[in-house]
Assembly symmetry: C2
Homo-oligomer: 243 residues x 2
């Protein structure tokens, strides 16, 4: 059976006692039914993965004894994923997949054709944590709050390039091979595509590169995973580039 992994927002070091809040304690004792003394794995997003022993786990809280580091901290490359939220389950899915695929930051953006007017940032962040727990990650990408695309672009640092997955760009995919290394963000549109005004603005920005994701129409969640895969394989840590 796979070892239970828990994200703990607390400094981790050998011999360090770590408090558990009620939810964490309930998860270990009530849901997973682990008795005191059980070894689990913990990470805090900064200090790698550590083995820890359950010292106490009761309804209102408990504590762990941190034992030893079992994996170094591993951060993803400097890649953001900006996406227009869609239906709830598929938005959850994008956050889960972006975490697995090694996005360093996840930014929900409101576009002209985005129906969502708000998101549950806390719920999406919890999904990113759960994905990191399940996929043996040591890093949890921060999930931003919903931001209008225009505002995002107004404040954009031009040294971070944008890979725009343009669903209106038919034909073969542009190769990513010639694109420069460095900080990037992938931008995925909503199911209805970007508006004409948004398209014109994106096309005019010198730090934006357009790619096509093939001749078939992809759902936004599929497009997110596909674009992350192409970027990671060409410019990211799948290609052996440093994280």
């Amino acid at each position: 059976m796979a070892k239970v992994r828990l994200f703990i927002d607390h400094p981790l070091a050998a011999g360090q006692p770590v408090p558990l809040d009620g939810a964490q304690s309930h998860y270990l004792s009530g849901v997973m039914r682990l008795p005191a003394g059980t070894l689990i794995e913990v990470f805090n997003g900064r200090d790698g993965a550590w083995s820890a022993r359950i010292a106490a786990a009761a309804k209102r809280g408990g504590s762990l004894d941190v034992l030893a580091q079992v994996a170094p901290q591993r951060n993803p490359p400097d890649l953001w994923l900006c996406f227009a939220p869609i239906k709830k389950a598929r938005t959850d899915f994008i956050v889960e997949k972006a975490t697995e695929m090694g996005a360093a930051r996840i930014l929900p953006v409101q576009t002209d054709h985005t129906n969502a007017e708000r998101i549950r940032q806390d719920r999406l962040q919890a999904h990113a944590i759960e994905a990191a727990e399940q996929c043996l990650g040591t890093f949890v990408p921060p999930v931003g709050d919903l931001l209008p695309l225009a505002r995002l672009l107004d404040g954009w640092d031009a040294s971070r390039r944008i890979l725009w997955a343009d669903e209106a760009m038919a034909g073969p995919a542009e190769t990513l091979a010639g694109l420069p290394h460095g900080p990037w963000a992938i931008l995925i549109g909503p199911e209805g595509g970007f508006s004409d005004a948004e398209r014109a603005r994106l096309a005019s920005l010198p730090f934006v590169s357009r790619i096509s994701l093939g001749p078939r129409i992809l759902r936004a969640d599929t497009a997110a995973v596909a674009a992350l895969a192409l970027w990671q394989a060409s410019l990211g840590d799948w290609a052996g580039n440093p994280g």
Copy 2:
């Protein structure tokens, strides 16, 4: 509002009346509330997409009048996706994503670490049809029945190469750039990975190429989309190769 699209397993030609079965007729009249005379789009997986007018739609059945072809038939490249079924929702998801990403055939395989002993082939096939309907496709990949991996490999035609997404292969991804064109299949393992015996056999086969999908552990559904994206961009119709 997007036009309703319906997969109809019937020859399509201008002026041709096409019968609707009870489920299709109920979908149009009962679920979508479309009156007779409404224009919809239909495809049969072979003859492209056609506009059609609802002639009659009642509880037990109905009929369409096919008007004109609106899109040519577009088949995906000769790429199969072989995957070990996982939990129901994620298996459904893999079939949906493989259809969007342009797999020509979907083959569920039973591996040593696969928990599923059977699949609902008809339900998975319905998912592939629904994905093609929603994503403006004209092709529906056939979904096979569950086949043990050993049997699949026993009968394998060596002219079809296998791209094995090997979760145990750490480190940077092998580039797909040098791999030959032609018929391929992507092989994705179960969450527990392939057994030692399976790994030894796969490694010994001359038509198998291993790739890594980066340093993070991916769920099987994520790995399927990522591997399909890399193949399509390098050897498939995203790279401008003929379908």
